[in-house]
Amino acid sequence: MTTQQIFSPLPGIFYRRPAPDKPAYKNDGDVVADSDTIGLIEVMKSFNEVKAGTTGKILRFLAENEEAVMAGQPIAEIDV
């Protein structure tokens, strides 16, 4: 068991939900597959999906919903 981080591919605003009235894509403790979407990054009014990029279990999110993030900033920790 090792811990990996998922990094934001872009600078922008991080969202954990597909829409304000929808549940979060993933929560702490959820098992994710490589191609699962874990959040969105809004950059210049365009929305880009962030993929898990690996298979494992999400330990915790490091970035909050609607937080401003930099490219390369860790947004979640995952147990692979």
């Binding site: 600078p11 922008g12 605003i13 809004e42 950059v43 210049m44 401003a68």
Partner: protein, 466 residues
Amino acid sequence: MAIKKLLIANRGEIAVRINRAARELGIATVQVYSMADKDSLAVRLADESVEIGPPQASKSYLNQATILAAAKATGADAVHPGYGFLAENAEFAAAVEAAHLTFVGPTAQSIRLMGDKVAAREAAAAAGVPTVPGSRGRLESTEAAFALVETTGFPVMIKAAAGGGGRGIRVARSADEFNHLMPQAQAEALAAFGDGGLYIERLIEGARHIEVQVLGDGHDVIHCFERECSLQRRRQKVWEEAPSPSLTPAIREKLCASAIALAKAVNYRGAGTLEYLYDDRTHEFYFLEMNTRIQVEHPVTEMVTGIDLVREMIRIAGGEPLRVRQDDVRVTGHSIEVRINAEDPTRNFMPNPGTVSALSIPGGDGVRFDSMLYQGYTVPPFYDSLLGKLIVHDKDRPNAIRKLSRALAELSVEGLATTKPLHQALARDADVQAGRFHTAWLEPWLELHASSIITDQASPVARAIL
């Protein structure tokens, strides 16, 4: 009362533009900014600046209470909202006035009226301005819908009242299709939006987007002729010009007279724009909506009329009457504006924030670059992608297009991908040169001409030759 200190409640190139206009009028400026815009050009140019919150617009540029508090703290006596953000928010306009400050724009009542689609359409109809044939608001029954299409003709769009942004729209090209689609549309609207309400609008295919600039002082209104903005991608204008290459003098006169009729009917104050669809085969135009603010593409009007719209709107807000008479507004030559966005046209217009490592700005007679850029500036990812606008003016349209190509070749924004190569490709295109386009022209063109959009590295000047 004349404005002495103006708070600019916006960012980017329009904040720079407003700052310059205010200074030219001898008015001091206060620039509000989010944490992400601390290093912006607008902040650097302003006399004073006040931070109003975190990067997210909802917590800064849309935070009315913080903006009003900044005005109070700095002793500003007026607020200019620019475009976007709070520019067409009637509650904000009212709150500014309630705080005994001047709102540089129309009354809250005008903003509210024109922001309500059904009310705006009714005001237009009452002023004798043609609107797109269709239902006045939602249809109450299918019987009413069938009766209505007898008068509108085909094709018609059936729109879900609760839809928006292009969702829930169907097109019927005949009565048979309409009979078939109507119940289906109703059932689907009910399932998708929990509201089976529909409205109907005639579809004007191949229409152009033409808009009329007006200036009013609350008593009198003048027009400053039209702009054509038919080159659009995803409903965003990318290239705008004045005058329109497609209007005859007689239609132009009718169109501008209709804009005046509506703006006068609502005692309009400030700068405003009436948007129309224009069918150049039938020479018919239809009012779409009125934007109660300064627009991104206002410079092309300034270039051909010599009227500084931003200065005029500030003077009007300060209580001055209109200083230009309709007879003195004349169009000289032709002007084109292209939007330089931080988007990569060779990669499906992917947004591209980053740092400007080097910047060359084109010059020469009739070339204007309204932008928020400077060398070393880092473009934040939190707002729209507009970096600036390249505007040219020349004696006629062919010369303006040649000047645009020349100026684009001189423009260099290093460190970011921009839409510059798109505009270079458009300026070379035979249809663009002939003025043969409409609002649905650019998107299919992009699919077919992706390879003609080349990021210039080697010889930009050679490529600019038409």
